[in-house]
Structures are given as C-alpha cells and as structure tokens.
Subunit: 393 residues, 2 copies
C-alpha cells in the first residue's frame, strides 16, 4: 500500500475535507490505509434505515426523470441543425443511459426536504420553486456529464458509446468537440439562471476536475501510474467530483447548514468512488465474475487501476511488467496471472464496500426526519450504495 505524499500542491482545489498538513506538506489520501484496515467491519448505522423489499430508487423518481429527459432535449436545441443534432445525440429516447446521476440528485433533494408535511401555502410555493431549481441541477449535471463523454470519446478515439456509434465516429471529431463545448456553455447559462454564485462556482470547478482527472490519466509518469494515492485522486476528479458537488449544490439551494451540505457531498463522493472501484473490477472480470472475462479495456490502454495496484503490493515484481507497457498482449496475460494469484480483485471490492458504507453513513447522519417521503428517499439512497457494489455490469 502506498502511503506516501503527493507533491505539495499549493494551488490545488483539494477534494477531501480530511486532508491535513504535516510539517508543511499536505498529506493526501492517508485515509486510504485507514479505510482498508477497517474493511470487513459491518456498518452499524443502518438500523433505522432497513431497506424495504423491492425498493427501486429509479422508479421513485421515474416521472421526474421522464420530464427531465424532455427538458434536456429542449434545452439543447441549437440554431444550427448540425449542432442541434450533435448536442441532443445522447439525450434521445433510448440512449439516455441509466440516468444514475439525476436519480441520485432527485432522491437527495427529497432526502433533505425539511418542508414536507408543512401545510402553509407559502411553504408550498417555495417548495415547488426549490424543486424546479433542484431539477435544474440534475439537468446541468447531465449536460456536463454528456459533454465530458463527448470530449473523452474524441480523446480516446472511441467508436461506440451506450450501444450506438460514438458521436465522433458518426459525425466526426470536429462536431463532437463543438457539441461538447456547446453543452458546457448551455450548462453554464442554465447555472447562471439559478442566481446562486456558490453553486455556479461549485459546478464550474467540477468541469475543471473532469479535465484534471483526464489529464492525470493521460500524462502520468511511471511512478504516478503505480501510486494508489494518484489513482484515488484521479478517480475523484474523473468520477466522484461531479456527483459529490451536485449533491452539495442540492443542499445549498435548499438552504441547508454547512454540516448537512458536507454530508450530501460525502455521500456523493463515496458513492462515486465505490462506483468507479467496481467499474475497475468489472473491467477485469466482466459479468462472469472470473478473471480475464472483462473487456480489459483499461489495461490494454495502459491505464492502471486499483486491482493491479493492490496486486503490485503483494508482488512487487509486477511493477516491471507494468513499466513495460501493455501493447504486447503477452504482457497483459502476465499481469493477469499476477492479479489472479493476488488479492487485488478482493481488496478492490473491499475498498468499494467501505466507500459504499461511508456513503450510507452520511445518509444515516442526516438530521432526523419522520416524514415518509423523506425516509423513503433516504432508504433509496442507501439502496443505491448496495446496488453499486453488487452490480455485475
């Protein structure tokens, strides 16, 4: 396990509240070792949030998701026909994806709702307006997410996405770059309309994080590629920042306290990290749960993820294999052999479980609220943490 420090980053926007400075140097991700050493302990905090049978988080917000789809399609209408069809490409019916982020955001909005149950007409008006603003966060988040997919696919020269041709493959790199820029600018216009500058800053920062994460992945040195801290930081930027900061935005719009906003952020951050850790396992195992049956897409592109990093701790000689690169498929096979002998997959799953538990813990720590809708949404958020770690695709 790497427990070293990253270089001092004076200008870094630090994603973790738990960072500390020791002897003038910021210690990043020292929590990784704590997290891992605690893995295996059962979370103690779910007693009052026991998951009901067949609680489907997605169906709880299905109606709103459908409205959101319509609004997204109307928000990306452009004057220029080609730009319009490029921008709406992944918002069309059937290729909207799982809409995981909007689901989390809408559930979080209800989970933090402190007006439910109050009958006051004024509260009702305020509540409806707040909900509309929170839905807008869900739309903005989805636009930022799709914009990053469009640019990532250009960078990776990807030819498919969500079961259809990638936009760069179908309409060319130029339109894919422009459509990504267009979605970002529409997201920024929508953000400005919320008239909350803290929320604008938060989500503008996310775009920066997405770019930072992508660049970290693309340009790392050999040592950094083999560092667990670097991997976790990159994973936060690429995957967890968007969902954590949009959860926080939901809390801020609702006028919640700093404590509640931080819990919302922690939920999103840990859910995002758990999601990506499992993604990295599935890249090796696929749906079969046996090694080597996944797409192996990361390792073939030279991207080193948690399973290999854990395996390298057990078998330091794996480092030589990693440093050789994976253009030669024999080298991929050799790395898989080491991975198979190690506890790399198991430890990655354990780390994912731990982050899922931390996400649940954040929900359990929210101020008590007896309203049925609020409770149901909180249970659904906890249920999502379970689904993230048990999913097989």
């Amino acid at each position: 396990m790497h427990t070293g420090t990253l270089p001092l980053l004076e200008n870094a926007a630090h994603p973790y509240e738990s960072s500390q400075r020791v002897s003038g140097r910021r210690v990043l991700f020292s929590w990784v070792s704590n997290v891992v050493s605690n893995v295996g302990q059962q979370p103690q905090f779910q007693s009052n949030l026991s998951v009901e049978d067949h609680l489907d988080p997605f169906s709880l917000v299905a109606d709103e998701l459908s409205l959101l789809g319509n609004r997204l399609r109307s928000m990306v209408v452009a004057e220029v026909p080609k730009l319009a069809s490029a921008a709406e490409y992944f918002f069309k019916m059937g290729v909207e994806g799982k809409r995981f982020r909007p689901t989390v955001i809408l559930l979080m909005a209800t989970a933090l709702d402190s007006s439910i149950g109050r009958q006051d007409a004024l509260v009702g008006d305020f509540s409806a307006e707040l909900r509309a603003r929170q839905q807008c966060i869900a739309e903005i988040t989805e636009m930022i997410h799709v914009a990053s997919l469009l640019h990532d696919d250009v960078l990776d020269d990807a030819d498919t996405r969500r079961g259809i041709g990638s936009l760069n493959f179908v309409m060319g790199n130029k339109l894919a770059v422009l459509a990504g820029d267009f979605l970002l600018s529409r997201a920024c216009v929508a953000l400005a309309s919320l008239k909350n500058t803290e929320v604008v800053s938060l989500l503008a920062k996310v775009v920066e994080h997405l770019v930072t994460g992508e660049t970290m992945q693309m340009t790392s040195t050999a040592d950094k590629r083999c560092s667990m801290e670097y991997y976790m930081e990159k994973t936060f930027y690429k995957t967890a920042s968007l969902i954590s900061n949009s959860c926080k935005a939901i809390a801020l719009l609702a006028g919640q306290t700093a404590e509640v906003s931080t819990l919302a952020y922690e939920y999103g951050k840990n859910l995002g990290l758990a999601y990506q850790l499992i993604d990295d396992v599935l890249d090796f195992t696929g749906t079969s749960a046996s090694l080597g049956k996944g797409s192996l897409s990361d390792i073939r592109h030279g991207i080193i993820t948690a399973p290999i990093l854990f395996a390298m701790e057990e078998f330091p000689q794996l480092r030589v294999v990693v440093d050789r690169g994976f253009e030669n498929s024999d080298n991929v096979d050799l790395a898989l052999e080491y991975l198979g002998k190690s506890h790399g997959i198991e430890r990655t799953r354990e780390l994912a479980v731990k982050h899922a538990s931390l996400a649940s813990a954040a929900i359990s720590s929210l101020p008590k609220n007896d309203d049925e809708d609020v409770m149901r949404s909180r249970r659904a958020l906890v249920e999502l943490t379970t689904r993230v770690i048990t999913r097989t695709k």
Copy 2:
C-alpha cells in the same frame, strides 16, 4: 445583395436589437442593405472627439495590460504539469498577441467611469473594487478567446498560431482540447466570483455563440455559404459577440443604465464586425493591398467571405465557380479574376468603414463627461475604430 430572410429561428438568441418580425417571420440582417446604401456618407459625430496626435490606445492601458498578463499566467496554474503548460501556452511573454480585446475592455471601463473627479473616500474604495472586477472581465474574455483559438486550431488542423507552433501541433490534439476545456472552466469559476448573474449569463452565451459561429462555417449548405445575411450572422457569432458582450458586461458591472450598456454593446459589435471584414479583405490582398497577395487561406478552405459575396452580386456566374469548390487551384484563380473585375474588395472596405463609424457613433452618444481621463479613453476607443479599418496586417 442578398436581402432574403433566414429560416424562422424560434430558439435563437438574437444578436441584433434591430431585428423585427414581419408576418411572423423574423427578418435578420435587413440592416445590411441599409448599411451598405449609406456607405460613403461621412460620419458627423466626431466633432467633440477629434483624435489627438499620437494617441496610442494600447499605451494608455499598458501598465494594466502587463498586470493582466501576470494575473492570467497565475490564473491558469493547474495541478497537473502538462495541463498547466498547455493552458499557459498562449499567455507566455512574447506570444500574448495584440491583447486587442483587453485593451478595448479597459478603455471602455474608463470611458464609462462616472466616479472620476469625485474625491469621496468611499467612492475611491468602490471605484478600486469596480476596476478590479472590470479587469477580471478582461481576463475572462482573454481566457474564452484563447480557449476558442485552441479548439479552432484542433478543428482546422492548424500548425501555427501567433508565429509559433499551434498547441495541437506541439502537444497534440488531446491536450489542446483539454486545455481549451480547462480555460473555459477557469473562466467560468472567475465569472462566478464576480457574483453578478446577468454578467455570467452574458459571457456563457458568448461561448455558445463562438460554437454556433464555428458550426455555421463548417456545416453550411451551398445556398447559405452564398448568403450575405448568413455570413454576417456567422461573423457576429465568431468575432463580434465576445467583444460586444464583454463591453456590455463592463457597463453592467459599473451599474450603468440600459441605454449606456447598449451603447457599449453596439461599440463592441460594430468594432468586431469592422475588424473581421478587414480581415477578410487582407486574406485576399495581404500587406501589399493588391489582389492575390494575401494568404488566400479562407478561400482555399472553402470559406466564402464578403469580398466574394459582393463580387457575386456583380457577376452571378461566379456562383458556379464557388459551388465547384476550391480544392482545384484553377478555381481559386478564376474566382480571383472575377473578384478583380468587381468592386468586391472596395465594397467590403466600405462596409467595414460603415461599421467602424457606427462604433464611433456609439461612443459619441455616451452621456457627456468632461473628465480628462474619460475623454481620453473615449478618443482612444474612436482611434481604435480608425486603426481597425486602416490596418494592413
């Protein structure tokens, strides 16, 4: 002259205040014919703004431009080394370009300053804070401009820019796309810090316009490529929107009236249009002022600009040449022959002069102010309109 209408664009963000709806259809750019028919009349409004000898607009704000350069370099510092060096590529000393936009913006800030001359200490504090916010607009504008250059160079596969290798040429397309995204996100974070949602909307809209203009240029039909209205609309989006909306932002931050904000916007819009029209002339003439000595870069890339559009009105048979495309250099020569026989270059210059005059007129229409600094900045803004139309490179 094409005076037809563009298709009805219900969702269009309309750039021109002068647009009208006729029989349910919006008439865009009908002003082009008015503008052209008035060309040749001398502007009558400069009497109180006579340009003093050797008034150099750039040297008036030289100190602030130098500070701005430093701040830009510090604003684009990134955690990831490669991203940092990519993002600061065009902000380094020696390759900052003319800094035309920041110059206009800073001059506009002084030209609209109504606090100068008042000695009140409170006014002084407010004034310093306002100036800092207006400088921030200059920085944001420059970041948006450079971001668009980075992405445009990727789209055009350009290999040089500002006399050095383009970023895509030197560091690859991927880093150029990411660095552009990074600058946009930093611009958005800086915008949010101004805590003025109208200004955020205005500049977010500019990014959308830049993308729209680029897409219009890339994906037009044969008919649209030959339409003066389409050309002027595209030119507004690609060149004039950024400078017009940032001038308006300067006025809004200063708490100016809607009338003054519109004059600031009109100045920027007409200056931007004049600038681009002359650019399109220089692409044909180069510094020599004789036809065919320019780089001919537009026509060789199949981009049809004002000189050819005017020539086509005199020689409709030129349309056949244009529709054939310009991959064959004989076709370029044939188009140049028609252009040489026509008044295309002359009429484009006249149109540029007209827009430069409209820009000057906007300055002359500002509320009277006897302060020397204010007057000098206004004269400098007028001087810029002259420089834009008399420049030879």
